[in-house]
Amino acid sequence: MMDPEFLQERFLQVYNLHADAIFRHCYFRLHDRELARDCMQEIFMRTWQYYVRNYETIGNIRALLYRLANNLVIDEFRKKKTLSLENELEKGYQPAAEESRIHERIDGKAMMQLLKKLEPAYQEVIVMRYIDDLAPKEIAEILHQDPNAVSVRLTRALQKLRNFLPHE
């Protein structure tokens, strides 16, 4: 076992590097900022517990984080805690700070509305490919799936999206 302080410091570096991306992933899958933050936090806490036992064998911690994120998001879907975008708009959702308000007013809602129209399996790959900027091979590693199967799913997801985007 390596020096505890080093492991802690290293893991905090992991948090600094990946917190925003993991939060963004949860946000576009759960459509709720506060829920996404809670989810992100839970991911890092669980990853820490895994990390202290397995740091020697973790090859790709980014993949591990996304895998946990995917599992937690699916858990949330099962708990049916995800609010619909319509519900959020009705209750007038209020992000934490002005900066995020500006981003979400202009950007997040449009993409979220689009994603809501897709089935969860298609949402998953679209978010990973286009928002998380993961390559199909990385997505396959995270989801423990065949890379070809992921590519096929991505193609179908994009075909579905085609129907919802305005044409020029």
Binding site: M1, M2, D3, P4, E5, F6, L7, Q8, E9, R10, F11, L12, Q13, Y15, N16, A19, D20, F23, R24, Y27, F28, R37, M40, Q41, F44, M45, W48, Q49, V52, E56, A96, A97, E99, S100, H103, E104, I106, D107, G108, A110, M111, L114, Y130, I131, D133, L158, L161, R162, L165, P166, H167, E168
Partner: protein, 368 residues
């Protein structure tokens, strides 16, 4: 599909971030969680196994060391690595700790800043070894001299790194490295002073040189930091870099506030294990840290960003010193208790090095 429209949405979606406040809050929660679920060194069973191994193979001499270390590293690396972390100079696995564990660890430093931090940590580990041996009354002059030599090597590397940052005009990195080194040294200087009062003459003599060295290095770190801060203060008046200094000062404000909160919570949680005196000493540092934050905020408002940053660094340093000081004492006390549990069935130890003589138990007089 309207590809342009989709790409626009994608670009904009990637602009969704946590606010600085949210990210810091998350970091604080994670730190708290990590404190509650700390890393535990090795496994009790594996440590026991290697202690037994050492006891039964104590006929092996230092000349056998390279072969033994290689053999162990190749065939038993996971358990050895774990057990070696607890070893002290003179133990069979100590070369594994210093030559294998620490060297391999150094490979993972991904930046010059993390290299500087790691060398500071290595210097600290040498001081922790001295403290543990002194607390047990087992510190001999020749062992102290060897540890001091290693400590000097690590300290030299930290100082070289600080000078390197300064030469490259990376004043932020220079100030951080100097500040971090200073707080580590100050915390251990306090522990050594405290230990000195409870050890016998032989151990006290063995401690003398290393204490002096720590004091010299701490003063050098103070000077290095002050020099860098003065240079930064001059540079900060340049309009081209003012925004950069402002951002750095604001970042340090958040870091200092977070560190103060973290250490305050730490003291609250461990308060019952500490004497009123130790707790008071730590709290004085935290009060000074809080005052430094207030002073820093005033400088921030006056747009004196370099001075503000220096104040926030001071606050961070004081909070870190308080925590390292308390942690070092608690760690020594814990190790003494573990040792006492192991010795339960052995004959009583003779009075030495501040160890009390209870039936089969070692007691340290650290004023906890």
């Amino acid at each position: 599909m309207n590809e342009k429209e989709f790409q626009k949405l994608v670009r904009e979606s990637r602009g969704i971030f946590l606010t600085a406040e949210e990210k810091n809050e998350g970091r604080q929660q994670l730190l708290f969680h990590m404190e509650k679920n700390p890393v535990r060194v090795g496994g009790f069973f594996r440590l026991r196994f290697w202690r037994v191994f050492v006891l039964h193979f104590n006929f092996l001499t230092p000349k056998h060391m390279p072969v033994i270390v290689l053999f162990i590293a190749v065939f038993f690396s996971a358990g050895v690595s774990a057990a070696a972390e607890a070893s002290l100079p003179g133990d069979l696995l100590y070369p594994v700790k210093v030559k294998v564990n620490e060297e391999v660890r150094g490979w993972f430093a991904v930046s010059h800043e993390s290299e500087a931090k790691w060398e500071t940590r290595r210097a600290e580990r040498r001081l922790e070894e001295v403290e543990e041996l002194a607390a047990k009354g087992e510190l001999k002059a020749d062992v102290a001299a060897r540890i001091e030599e290693n400590f000097k090597a690590h300290a030299d590397r930290v100082e070289a790194r600080i000078a390197d940052f300064e030469a490259r005009d990376d004043l932020g990195a220079a100030a951080d490295a100097a500040s971090h080194f200073e707080s580590s040294l100050n915390a251990h200087e306090d522990v050594l002073v405290r230990l000195r009062g409870g050890v016998n003459a032989e151990v006290r003599s063995a401690l003398k040189d290393i204490e002096k060295d720590v004091d010299v290095r701490a003063n050098a770190a103070v000077e290095a930091r002050a020099k860098v801060e003065a240079k930064a203060a001059e540079d900060s008046h340049d309009a081209r870099v003012k925004a950069e200094f402002q951002a750095a000062a604001e970042g340090k404000f958040t870091a200092a506030t977070n560190k103060l909160d973290e250490v305050t919570r730490f003291l609250e949680e461990r308060g019952d294990e500490l004497s009123a005196k130790v707790k008071a000493e730590a709290e004085v540092k935290l009060k000074l840290a809080a005052d430094a934050i207030l002073a820093g905020r005033a400088k921030l408002e006056a747009e004196a960003y370099a001075e503000a940053r220096a104040k926030f660094d001071e606050a961070h340093r004081l909070a870190m010193e308080a925590k390292k000081f308390v942690q070092a004492l608690l760690e020594l006390e814990l190790k003494a208790e573990a040792e006492a549990d192991d010795n339960d069935n052995r004959p009583e130890n003779s009075q030495a090095g501040g160890q009390g003589k209870a039936k089969g138990k070692l007691e340290l007089n650290l004023g906890l």
